[in-house]
Structure formats: structure tokens, C-alpha cells
Symmetry: D2
Subunit: 360 residues, 4 copies
């Protein structure tokens, strides 16, 4: 238990359930003196929020964030920053039908078995809605990383179902009329057609998200175990529906030769980035490259074989409001978690270097 | 800094460098009353140790482990168990040549930049040799998991370079004359030919290791952030040379439909295991399926472009003794880290259930 | 930084400032299945809240707690329990006068020097008001300890200024017309006279609080460093204004002989309790006896020599609303922190024993 | 369980039992680049070691420390520093007589009840001998604090049994022919007479140790819970036999008025130090003043009432080799633990200030 806090020096503790009164997070360890207001946080929440297109859940949540503490006269004070988001559009009755059986591929089953009690409303604690407080906290980390180091953390959808999307440019990712964070605006119509067909079919599909952090200085990461890549893998695999994490060349490195994989160095810098910006668990100064696999949504309309809470065979069809592909909204989530890890490691590394500096 | 401890209730702290006086680990949190001696630990160290075939480094290390504490009259006492391994075969002079430049793909560069000082002998702290103390600690976790829960943790080499190896049976993995932990003895001659050619070429290759834990009860894992899959991803990505981690269907789940991926349930159990035994970050009771990608060794004989510590362009050829594929010895390492995570979560979950039990 | 979380398995993270929008806490690790509502928490908040008598600050705060998460259909779910208390009666202008100089004995100075920024309103984060969220969390721990183990945690005021108060009985402590948590109702009139005189004088005084936990089973505490007495000392010394902590005989043990101090044992139990219920950092099964010293309030009306933020000599008189003796409201605070430590150690110990049990 | 690690950024994990093969510690988080050798550590071990006078246990232990890792070419590398001390003079047979009953005031009872198994040889893990690895680690922290900040951590014996010793000067504390760390050499003959009489009587007595840290900058400590005073209280109460901890005026502050206790400030500095150098959990820049109460040794020759492991009434006399007053050797132990806390907080604070600095 007590697994709801992330980080060592920059810690984030989240709370809440999909259909409870509120969700939120407490950031402890944000350095003092940074200008901060709700306006710095709301944009990322808006990028993640439901109901923004026909391709995502139609649940209506404004996800308005309120800063409860840690800011005085517009600046962070170094004390805990509490962020509160009230839940608004709850249709708990939607879940009456499924409250007594388990959705294949969903945490319904494991939560009930683990805790002996379960909040079936929208998946309770296991809902992807709980990524919102992390996105809010991530926006604080993102701002600090940018202001202090010029680090920019960005992501995009690189594949949805069978559709691979080559990276074209960052502008397209955030462009009007691109509900997918796809890195090539020209591909959007085709993706919309695919998603419309999928939605009508009552099935769901998976996706791949790539997240890139530029400007990270060399030296972040605390081997042997709190390596930068290890902590990135932890938070990324911890995102709802994620089943795989790659850094740099990832699984492709299995078939590479050493002469191909090892990034050669010149006085002008590295000649490639198979390492994904991390060697020995420590940042190299190159872009940090992370890619994650997101499984298809488990809440689908098509009937599936399952059991009820008494263990009897039954079938289940999940109606109500669900994302046919949770990957569509996952880009800001991936950015947020990568930002949280980088901020924590920035502080950990600074403690070491500064401390070491004057002794040397 | 202080990133050399793993775990919450069952913690492992390792120390040492490749060419220092000794390496070792301190296990804190092992329950009392378990029979334990060096004989329980040495076999996994022997499976990992160098010099066991022509396909791995020829460094001669007996890797004899000594239990320094935590055991009285043959039983664990519940106090810290310190495990010591003396380094024996150190040829530090081998590193004189490369001490002033960086191996592409190696932690040489990042360690020097981070710490401002570096132990070039065999990679110092960043050496794969430092997996030995973790393997020793993992053997203790493995024994406890087996005795208390009947959990069995096993791994195998599923791919080396371009050669994919289908799983045939567990007997083959540990069979005489199988230096690769390959799950199909019939494939060994072909793999040996491949490795001999590779070694002579002076290049290196990558590999894929699969690790499976059978018998894990439903309920292990502490959402939201200390999820079982998240902690597995952290330790696996933290193993030297690992660039990717998958649970269950992993990256394959991107192209699966929800109707295909979600494991249907019947009174007799699940009908498939795309989840890899984990839903919502909590074990389902099915086998835990983990797969990792290992990059090709960075220390190779072929010349590579690089820079020296002053930043000048140069080339480097790494002679001395190195594994042409670190994946060959990675199977017991993957088993050890998975065992450490499972043991920690077993204890964390028991605290919760027991605690909750009588209140309910 | 990030020092606002207590505990290992039962963690409490608090947030807020004296005059911000709200204060609160997030409990992570509460076992599932316990009946819980605001009615279980409010009574301890009411015992601590200001304005309950003329002897404490006249600030009017209802301190109404709202449970935001972690409870479903009246029962804890095992997920984080967020507790919110809105601030109501803020007279920030009271602090304009003192915003630019430091109160002798107050955290004004150290907070500004540490963080480079300070919220002067009511002491900001350093205010004793921040004990309220801990008292709320402590009420949850208290309930669980009582229901599951029959552990009862109670405290009383044993000295205020020069007035020592012998323990008479627990009824008196909570009796009507006893604003001091004094363990002898007959002493109350004399204490009121003393406090009235003190208040009029514009000065302040110190106090001693004793806290007792009955029913704690033998075995709680995790040596060597997370000993039960060590963790109790940490949280108690961490309470605002506390300058000393004793367990059992405490400082009196300096002048005891071994033959006097060591509690002899018989088949019927211990013959004394100089140990205060803890030996070797582990509970003995006897009452846990804790005593703390509380310094006099630093915010007083009488003029004191000090410096302003520019470092110039000045004098300061603190008007506004303050407790002439913070010890008067400290009893429920001491109970809460002791309860938090006991609950965390209950869970930690259970993980060990259960885990060990079947191996032995 | 897993309570054998101290610290957040500068962590120390100890292992070993009084009569096992070896004891030791692993320091993780020591900054790189500091000159370090056994010669920096041995002196504090020698100050603590047994057999140095007739007033302490006659067990003969050289307590020679070996650095196993973390140092390369005489300098710390930033990687874990493992310190090993082999046990030499073990007379386990001395404990045969008492192996089946419990010493009043000793951890015998609680260890057996907690762990269900116990190492009776010299108290096993609960032995004061286990302070040696912490003293070794403390010497590393002490050196860094002195070199980097000019912080000096020193202690002395301020009372033994009924004999209070006024502080005269630091030279006397370390003077030849002063086996007590008494701060007034003139008092030593009287103390020796007292101790000789006590030893012959077969009884034991308590003591008080004062520890002072000079040169600590303003700003160390991480409120609300990882306050500097809170963490000091934790480690000090965690030292064997300690029953009370005071900071500054300590329990004396109960009877002080606010006008007396609050340390007035002038441009030249504070006019007094009742705070003991800590306000709001943060260092003020004044000396850190800590005082601890040490109970009388529980292992005494005089017969005491107790029970055996079956719970039957019996009496016990403890022969073998024991300190009649553990306080005599406690001064270097108190210094070590205070140094460990200060070092950890130095690093934590630097992470914050540096991080904040450029944002402000």
C-alpha cells in the first residue's frame, strides 16, 4: 500500500477516484521563487480532458484546477503545492450493469481481489481519469524545467492501431483540427475514418506514443538503481494501459551490431542517438527518446466472456462513455510523467554536483 | 545520488566496483526463520559468472559469496543479511589504453561528466560485474518466494542478434552444453557458430531475454505508482544494456483489437494472457511475463570514432576481456531482479491484507 | 525539501498555510474495509481548534473536515484518503506590522533565509495551524488502532509554566469546564487564575504534555534505525514548539541505578515501566509513555530586541491573536502524532510476522 | 522491517551482530572528489572501541576498518562506500547461561517476541557494538562537513550517575588520562573513584551526553516533518540506551517565560541560544545544542527477577564483559549520529537553494 507518491526530492502524491467528490495532487519539493498560477497548469489539463472530439469519451469535465497552497503573491514558496480538481459529470448509474462482473483486460478483477472492496463507478481509483492530477503536477515540473534549463518536453502519437505515423513536425502535433496529437496533419483524415469505423464497430485499438525531452544537460540519473532510464520506465509503465517502454533504439537494438548501435562521438557531438540520450542510466545531453505501447481499451460494447463476482460464467458488454483508443489522449500524459521524473532527477543531481564541487 | 538501494520493505543495497577490493550487497527486511546458507546463493552466481564458455568474457572470477550477517544457526534472523564477494582477477592495465577516451555506447562519458571523477578499471561502478551482488540477493528472494508461495521465477534467451529461439521446454534452458540459456537445445550448435563468427569479427550483438514468474497469487502491486508492472519495468530497465521492457503482449498490443487483447475469463480461469499476469498494476494470478531488449556490448575491438577526455577527436579499439553479447549471461540477472521486486511486493501486499482482514 | 510526508506504509502528506485558501492531508496506506466518515475525525479537530476558551487564540475557525477520496459507501477502499479543511477567519492585515522584522524564537527568520521568500500571514507554513491536518489524519489512525488492536491513545497536560499537575484520572482530562486537558479537575481554577494573569501580562509560558498508548502489542518497531522510540521522538520533536522528548523514565534515568531502572519481569508481567513500553526500539506490550516539553509562545505583546529583514536593529511587539501557551491545545496533537507512528509500525510489523510465520 | 538505513540523500545502511563474522556499513550519496582513507575513519573508532580503560568492557576489539568501495586513487567517486570491520574477540560461551532468560531492561525479550528467533551472543543485533559501523560512517560525514563548511561536531560527558560535570573546555575532553570525555580534567579522579566503586558493586549507572555542532549555516532542515530537530531526535533516541533528547533549553523551556526563552536578535547576532540553533525545524546559524539521557546498563552482576523463554519465574545475574556505564563510550557515538543527520540535510538543502536560486 502507500504507493501513490512519486519521486524523491520532487514528490507528487495524488488522490481521488473517477466518480468521487474530487481528484488532486500534492507537490512537495518545488523550489521557491517560481511564478505560478492556474494559468500555467490549465492548458495541459485541457489537452488531456475528455469530450474534445468525437473520437474520445463524451464525459463532460471542465477539469478546472485550483491551487490550494504553496503559492504566495504569485510565486512558489518552497512549501507543498496542492492542486484540486472537482469531479462534475458523473453518471454512476452507467456502471450498475457491470458492477457485478469483470471486464476482460480491466483492473476490476484485481482491485476487488486485492482490496476486498471496489468502487465500480468509472473504475474508481484505476480510472485513466486519475492521470489528470499527474498532468497538473507535470505542468509545474515542465515550467520549471523550461525556465531553469530550457528543457522542452513534447510528445506525439506515432501509431494508432495498424496506422504508423511518421514524424513530420511539432507544429502539426498541436495544429487545429488534429484531435490525435499526430505529427503529420495530412494523415488526420485517414485516422478519423479509421476511428469512426472502429467506434461504430464497438471494438477498440492500441497506440504508440513517443515522448522527447530536448535540452536535458549531461549528468542526470542516479545509478545503480535510480537510473534515469529506470525511473522513466517505472512512470511510463505505470500509466494506464501501457504494456511496453523503449528508450532510444529500444527493441530494435536486439538486431543491431555494436558498430551500429554505439553512438560515435566527435568534438561536435554524437553522430547518432540509439542510446535515446541515456548511457549507464545517466543523461548524455542528447534528446531523451521514449516510446510506449498502449493496449486497446478494455471497456468495449462487443460481448466478452467473463465471470461475475461469485465466479459464475457470464458475458459482459460495456456501454456508457469510453475512449475507443486511450492513446488519443495519452500524449500530454506521457509528457507529464517524463517531466516529473526529469525534475526529480534535476534536483537530485544538483545536490550531488554542488556538494561535490567545492570539495574537489 | 544515493540511488543504490532497491525496494521498500525488502531492500537491497549494493556496493563495489569492477576492480575494487570487493563487491557485495546488504539485504534488509528478509523475514526471520528461513534456512539460509551460501549454498542457496552460489548456484545463481555460478550461472552468471564469467569464464564458463568461450562465448563470454574470459575473466576468471570464482564469485564465492560469504554471508557476513543476518543468519544464526543456519536461519535468517530478520536482521540485515550482508553478502560479500571479493574481486580476484583484475587486469587494470588493460584499461590504461582507454582510460583517456570514451567508448561509444558506454557509460564512460556520463560517469565522468556526472561525478567529475571516474574509475576506468573495467567500467568501475557501471560494470555489468555489479549485477553479481544483485544476483546473490535475488537468490535469497527466490528461495523465500518458492518456500512460502511456491512461486518459481525462470528465464531464457529468446533471441540473440537475428536468431529468434522458440521456447521448447525449461529442461533445455539449463541443459549441459547449453551456454546460452536457450530454450531449445537443438538450436545451440547454430548459435555457437554465430557467436564464434561474431567474436572473430570483433563486433558484438544484442539479445532478448524472457523471464516468467509462475505461482504469483492475485493481488500483488501497489497502485497508483508502485504498481507491480511499474516496479518490474524499473528494475529491468536498470539492468546494464537494457533498452526496452515489455509485459505480456507488450508492443504487439498496439495492433491488437480490444476483442483480441482483453483476456476473457471463465470459472476455470483466463483464456489467454496478453496482460502478462498484471492488470491495473496488480497481479492476476496468471504467469508474470516479462521480456527485455539488450543492446550490443559497447566494448568492441573494431575501431570507432570518439573523443578523448579533453574533447579531441580520436578513435578507440577496446581490447581486453569482454562479452561479445552480454545477453548470454543476462538470464540469471533478469530472474534475480524480478525476484527482488516480487518479494518486496509480497511483503507490501501482506501488510495490507492482513491489516485489512480483521477490520472487514 | 519534500519533507512534508510522514510514514513508510501508512503515509500522511500535509499541505497548506495558516492564511491560504485551505489546509489538508492525504493519507496513503489506510487498510480497506474500515467504516469512516467525517464524524470520526471532527471530534479531535474540535478538541484542537482555536477559540474554545479565553485561554487560547480567539481566531474563529470551525475546522470542518471534508473527505474527498478513499471512502466508498462509508468504508475505506485502501486508496488515498484526502482530507480538506478550508481556512475561514484570516486577518492577514494583523501581520502587516511584523512582516518586515523577525519574532525572537519564531521561524520567521529561518524560513526567509532558507526559502528566500516568506508568507508572513500567521506564520504561513510554520504556523501551529498546520497541526490540524495531522490531527485529522491521526483520528483515522486512532480509530483503526482501537478497532483492530484495542489500542487507546490518550494525553494530558502535566505541567503549565511552573504548575505541575499530578495525574488523577482520565475522566477529568475531558471533563466539562476543563479547557486545559488537565488530569485533575480540582486544579483547573488555579490554572485559570495563572493563565489570566499571564495573558494580561502580555508574556507566554511553556508546558509539558504526556501521551500514553495502552494496548500496544509486543513487537512493534523496526531496529536498528526505524525503532519505535526513534520514530516517536521524530514526530514529537517535530511538533511546533517542542524542545524535548522523553520515553519512560527519560532524563530521570540518568540518576537511576541499573537495579532500579531495569524493569523486572514475572510470569504476571513487568513490575515497573521505566522503559516506557519500549526496549531495543521494540514495544514490550506495556503502556507506551511519552512526555514532551513545549516552549513558550514566541508571539508576545511585550517588546523584544530584534532585527528587520535588512538586518537593522529594531524592537517588535506582536499583537493580533495568539495562544499565550500553545501547550493548552497540544494534547490532541500529541495523541495524533503518536497514533500515526503506531499505525505505521503496526503495518510494518505485520508484514514481517505474517511473512515470517509460514516459513518458520 | 528494513529499518537499517538512515538518511535521504546521504544514506547509511549498517549490518552485523555482536558475535557474527563482521559488522559494517554502506554509505550511499557521499559526494565525489573528497580525499578519504581508513586513516580518516579509524580515530573515531578508536575513541569508541572497548578495552581502553578499566571503566569499560574488557572485550578486545581492534575495530580496524577496511574501505571496500567508493574510493579510487584516494578520492571518493560518488559511488557507495562500504566499510568493513571484522569481529575478533567473541566469547559466545559467556552467554550460554543467559540464553534462556531475559535481562530486565534489555532487548532480549522484545527481539525474541518480534522475530521468533534470537541471537543471544552479546545481544546480537541489539548490541551497542553495532554503533561502530555508524561511527565509521559518521567520520566520513564529519570530514566532509568540516572541509566543505567548517562545521565542527564535538561532544562531552556532562553527567554520570549523580555527578554533574560543568563544561570547562574542549581540550580537557580529549586530554590524556581522561577516559570519560569529561569536559573538566580536574573532575576525573573523583569520577574514577565513583566508577571503581560502582563496578565493584556489580550495579550500573546512567549518564548525560551533550553534543554541539558549530558552524552550521542557516537554512538546514526540511519542514514540516523532516525538520532538522526532528531528524536529530530520531537518530539520538535511536542510540542504544537513550531515553530522552533535548534541543537547546529542552525541558527547562517548560518553566521559561516567552520573554526569557525567545532568543533576541541584534545586527551582531543572537543574544542567547535557548533554541539550540534550530527554529521551525531549520538551523539558525548558531551552535546546534543537543543533550541526551542514557539509561544504566541492563547487563549487571546483581541478581534480578525475570522470566525464562518458557515464561517461568527465575532470577538472572549477568557476568561476562559489560560496560558499567555505556555513557562513557557514547560521546563519539553522539557526534557520529549528529554528523550523519547534518550531512544529509546539507545535501537536501543545497538541492533546494541551488535549484531555486536561478529561478528567483
Amino acid at each position: 500500500m502507500s504507493g501513490s507518491t512519486l519521486g524523491t526530492l520532487f514528490t507528487v502524491t495524488t488522490f481521488g477516484e473517477s466518480h468521487g467528490p474530487a481528484i488532486g495532487s500534492v507537490i512537495d519539493g518545488c523550489p521557491p521563487g517560481m511564478l505560478l498560477s492556474e494559468a500555467d497548469i490549465q492548458p495541459d489539463l485541457d489537452r488531456r480532458k475528455p469530450g474534445t472530439s468525437r473520437h474520445v469519451t463524451q464525459r463532460r469535465e471542465e477539469d478546472k484546477v485550483e491551487i490550494l497552497s504553496g503559492v504566495y503573491e504569485g510565486k512558489t514558496t518552497g512549501t507543498p503545492i496542492a492542486l484540486l480538481i472537482r469531479n462534475e459529470d458523473q453518471r454512476s448509474k452507467d456502471y450498475a450493469k457491470i458492477a457485478n462482473s469483470f471486464r476482460p483486460g480491466h483492473a476490476d478483477y484485481t482491485y476487488l481481489k486485492k482490496y476486498g472492496i471496489r468502487d465500480p463507478r468509472g473504475g474508481g481509483r484505476s480510472s485513466a481519469r486519475l492521470t489528470a492530477p499527474a498532468v497538473a503536477a507535470g505542468a509545474v515540473a515542465k515550467k520549471w524545467l523550461k525556465e531553469k534549463y530550457g528543457v522542452v518536453v513534447r510528445g506525439y502519437l506515432s501509431q494508432i492501431g495498424p496506422n504508423k505515423i511518421e514524424f513530420k513536425n511539432w507544429e502539426d502535433v498541436e495544429a487545429e483540427g488534429n484531435p490525435f496529437f499526430a505529427p503529420d496533419l495530412a494523415r488526420v483524415p485517414e485516422l478519423e475514418t479509421y476511428m469512426d469505423k472502429l467506434r461504430k464497430s464497438g471494438d477498440s485499438c492500441g497506440a504508440r506514443i513517443n515522448v522527447v525531452a530536448s535540452g536535458v544537460p549531461v549528468g542526470w540519473g542516479e545509478p545503480l538503481y535510480d537510473r534515469l532510464d529506470a525511473d522513466i520506465a517505472k512512470v511510463m509503465m505505470g500509466i494506464n494501459a501501457v504494456k511496453g517502454v523503449e528508450i532510444g533504439a529500444g527493441f530494435h537494438s536486439i538486431e543491431q551490431m555494436g558498430t551500429e548501435h554505439g553512438d560515435e562521438m566527435t568534438p561536435e557531438g554524437f553522430l547518432s542517438n540509439n542510446a535515446g540520450g541515456i548511457l549507464g542510466g545517466i543523461s548524455t545531453g542528447q534528446d531523451i527518446l521514449v516510446s510506449i505501447a498502449i493496449k486497446p481499451t478494455s471497456s468495449i460494447r462487443l460481448p466478452r466472456k467473463t465471470i461475475d463476482v461469485e465466479g459464475n460464467a457470464t458475458t459482459i458488454e460495456t456501454h456508457g462513455r469510453h475512449d475507443p483508443c486511450v492513446g488519443i489522449r495519452a500524449t500530454p500524459i506521457g509528457e507529464a510523467f517524463l517531466s516529473l521524473v526529469l525534475m526529480d532527477h534535476a534536483l537530485r543531481h544538483r545536490a550531488l554536483t554542488l556538494a561535490g564541487a567545492t570539495v574537489r
